[in-house]
Structures are given as C-alpha cells and as structure tokens.
C-alpha cells in the first residue's frame, strides 16, 4: 500500500516537474529572443522574379540577371535612413560592377517625380526601378525601408539586411560571395 502511494507520488512529481520544465523552456526560448528581429523565410530560397520599369530606361527582369550577384535595395525618397546608406550602395556599384555584381534600387511607395528628384540630387548611378502597387515588395515580405536582399549567382536569396547598410558590411557580403564562387 505504502509502496503504491510512493509510486503514485513519484509519478505525480515527475509529471509536475515535466510540465514546469516545459513552461520554463518555452519562456526561456521566447524571452531570450529579440521580438523586433524577424527571420525572413525567403533566405535560402529562390528570389521572386519581377519585371519592373526603370525610372529612366528599359525594364529590368530579375531572371535575366542570373549568373550575377544581385544587391536588391528597397528604398524611397521620403525615407531618411535610405539617404544614410545611399553613398555606400553607390560606392559598391562603382567598385564591383565589373566583377559581375549588379545593384538595383527598388522604389517603394513613392512618386516617380520625387524619386527622380532624389536620384538627380544624390547622384545615384545604379539602376532604379519603380514598384507601382508594391507587388514586388509584398513578394519579398517587405516590412519597411530600407531593406536589402543579396542574391547569389543562381538567384537564391543569401541574406536579408534590415536597416541602413554601411560600405564595410556590403563589401563583406559581396566579397564572401565572390570568394565562394571563385573556389
């Protein structure tokens, strides 16, 4: 009888400890994660294709750029943080365009007039495309600007960078991909 009661107590205690351990593990996992950082489900997958008109030039089709490393930067003329990274993007374009790297700016929630004015004043040299209706932005799971996607030569999304970039960060990303493809 006593043995049976002891056995039941052991089972009950094991159950309670298991439930408490599960709750603690869930809380530890949830509380240890930064809620503002959301991993993009697109990283590692094929980049959604698009054909978008340039502000001043022919349309750009992503699939036609297969074989080149693509830096896809979502921006807007009204976005102050986009101005911070613009020089870095332009320097990267100037430095790597002969190494098979393409930088494309995707204008998000903007007017063509404002975008043209910004491009002219900031002396942007890489191609800028218009995303009327934000269909491309939605396909890339955009939450705001600036956001940048780095695509491999095979058209796979390698990284999703949120917020303004700096030249060192972008150069590091591109160099590691160039190194990987030269191996």
């Amino acid at each position: 009888m006593t043995r049976r009661i002891t056995g039941r107590r052991t089972w009950l205690l094991t159950g309670v400890v298991s439930v408490v351990a599960m709750i603690v593990a869930l809380l530890a996992t949830g509380l240890g994660r930064d809620p503002s950082v959301i991993a993009s489900p697109l990283v590692g997958r094929g980049a959604p294709n698009f054909t978008l008109p340039q502000l001043d030039g022919p349309s750009v089709t992503l699939s036609k750029l297969r074989g080149q490393i693509v830096v896809l930067n979502f921006w807007a003329s009204w976005c102050t943080e986009c101005q911070v990274e613009q020089a870095a993007l332009d320097r990267t374009w100037q430095r790597f365009q002969d190494s098979g790297v393409v930088v494309i700016g995707v204008d998000f929630e903007d007017t063509a007039g404002d975008a043209r004015g910004y491009v002219r004043n900031a002396n942007v040299t890489y191609p800028i495309v218009e995303d009327a209706g934000s269909r491309t932005a939605l396909a890339y799971g955009l939450r705001g600007v600036p956001e940048t996607f780095v695509l491999s030569r095979s058209g796979r999304i390698v990284s999703h960078l949120i917020g303004p970039l700096n030249a060192a960060q972008l150069t590091g990303e591109i160099n590691s991909m160039l190194d990987a493809s030269s191996r």
Partner: protein, 176 residues
Amino acid sequence: MKAAGFPKLARISVPGLLVVIALVASVAALAIVAVRGHPPVTRAQQVQQIAAGLHCPICKDLSVADSPAPLAQQMRKEIARKLSAGESADQIRAGFVAAYGDSVLMSPPSQGLAGAAYYLPWLVLACGLVVAVTLLRRWLRTPASDPAEAETSKLSEAQLRAVAKEVAQLRVEEPG
C-alpha cells in the same frame, strides 16, 4: 426507486426543461456561427475576410483589414487582384506566409509546433481533470472524520498482516 436515484431531474418541470433545451440550442447555434462564420458573398467581403486573418507587417496588433497603413492598403489590393486572377483564399494566405512567415497570420497555424497553441490547452484540461478526479476519489475514500480508519492507516504492512492472521485464527477457533 429510479426517481430516488435522480431526485434533481425529477424536480425539473416541463417549462423549465424547455427553457434549458432552448438555451442549449441557442448556445450551440452561436458556437456554430462563431466557428464557421458567414460565407462571404461579394468580392469586397472576400477581401475583408482574408485581410482580417492577416497581420499588418508594419503595425502593432492590427490586421490588414483594420490598418490604414499604405502597405496594408497595398496588401488589400493584392488580395483583390489575386482573387480576380482565380486564386483561392488558402493560396493567397500561403503566398503571404511564403514571403512574411507564419507571423503574418493573425491566428497561429494548426500544423507543426505552432499547432501546440490549439491542442495544448485541451491537453492541460485533460490532465487537470485526471488530477481532479484522482484527488476527489482519494478524498472520498479516506474521510478524515473517521478516527478509527485514520488510526488503521498508520499501521505498517507487517502489522496489518499480523492483525489479519489473528482475525483468521480467531475465526478458525470460534466458527460462526
């Protein structure tokens, strides 16, 4: 004898029974409507229904249907465009999940680890019921008001065996 077995039921009058049945039927009808919802009729209602199930990616706790943000407006337009192109509600939701992840859904998905949000409460409830029934049965079996029984329970197994042996011996010596 049967009536004595169900004293409370026997006391319920016919009008009372009808009220209980009406209440149960009303609650069941409400539950069915709440779970199934009204099937959307117009395209705008379809858009509204799908948008209500999607979380506005740049808002805090607002659905795409309720958010005035430009991105949410574009999402509503995109839903309408996809519906016109013949996509089903599930396909449209899947498209947004592919781009934004499960966090774009207002309710967690019922599959995978997130499905725990649906079955865990039932599991906890079932465990609670088992514990409650076990405790209740134990309390009913060992009333604390009976000091003789309480005293008996303090005896060890060896003592209990000795008492049982003594009783058996007495029965053999004095049958009847």
